[in-house]
Amino acid sequence: MWKWLHPYAKTERAHQLAGTLFPWFALPGLILFTLGTVWGLVFAPADYQQGDAFRIIYIHVPSALLSMSVYASMAICGFIGLVWQIRTCYMAIAAIAPVGAVLTFIALWTGATWGKPMWGTWWVWDARLTSELILLFLYFGIMALYASFEDKLQAGKAVSVMAMVGVINLPIIHYSVEWWNTLHQGATISKFEKPSMAPEMLWPLLINLLGLALLSGALVLQRLRNEIVMRELRRPWVINMLKEQ
């Protein structure tokens, strides 16, 4: 039943597919993200308690949510790579990690700038903030580990293991605000009940979330193409492709 997927494990087909998909991610992503950001920052109403400062949410929440889902996708690549021994998956991990690290950094940074005016502090060692910081270190660790091996097949196996072990951090980040008492507030949209947000404020947030997801996808696809070409420089199909250009 999964036979149709098998050809894409080959780097050549994966490179092709990533190239075909790229514009379908990049363009809508750019449009949605611009729309959501302008809508959220300019046209959405101010919050009754926090005034205009709450608008940081339109960058903070999408990047924080995606920093976690991007990690999950990386760990899935690691699992498939380890079990089915697919090199393309290792390359995907190398492509995903820096994108996730940037998203995590944006989430931490915007969180700090939001925390200063509202809470009264840039940083506090509560469970949510600390576990998100650990996520950033996991991304850094994966990038460093991948870079430190000469043999990229070994590197791929090592980072796969690390990516999978780090998955345990994701539920900790998500439930930290419920399991322990923290300064950070509970979840607004990533829960089963109705989002605790007025609809006219919620829509730009959801649009931004989708936009940033597509943009991250586009970045990952482009990085994957680069990674494949770098790893396969001596393969005939790469040489031919480079000659044609």
Partner: protein, 157 residues
Amino acid sequence: MNPRRKQRMVIVISVFSLIVAAISLMLYSLNNNIDLFYTPSEIVNGKSGRMPVVGERLRIGGMVVPGTVKHDQKALLVKFDLVDTGPSVTVKYSGLLPDLFREGQGIVATGVLEDSSTIRADEVLAKHDEEYMPPELAEAMKGIKHVKPKQLDGVDY
């Protein structure tokens, strides 16, 4: 699935489950230490059998009891009570309060326990909830009326 893949999958999943179990046990035993603050009732009644000692540095988090906020007229001193579901604890603080500080608001204060139910704080942080709504909706739903400072009886800020 061929046997080698199956074997690899079993190994990967079992190693992963072992690590998950180890980390869960670790977090479970650390549970009390991960909390950012004590609640007022934990300070008065103790937390898992242990009473906070006078002179101990700790964090407290609770709701500001309406009507208990007292400002010193001459200095930046402020005094208020925090409560969760049980007894309340008095917090004394000297300094600037965050903008979100108001009666009924969740507050996290760091300081030294002066006596069994008083804390001298050197940092007061405001907690806010996960609800966001425009002012008109808040007024309709919660009866909260927010006025911009400059609209307050002609005072220029």
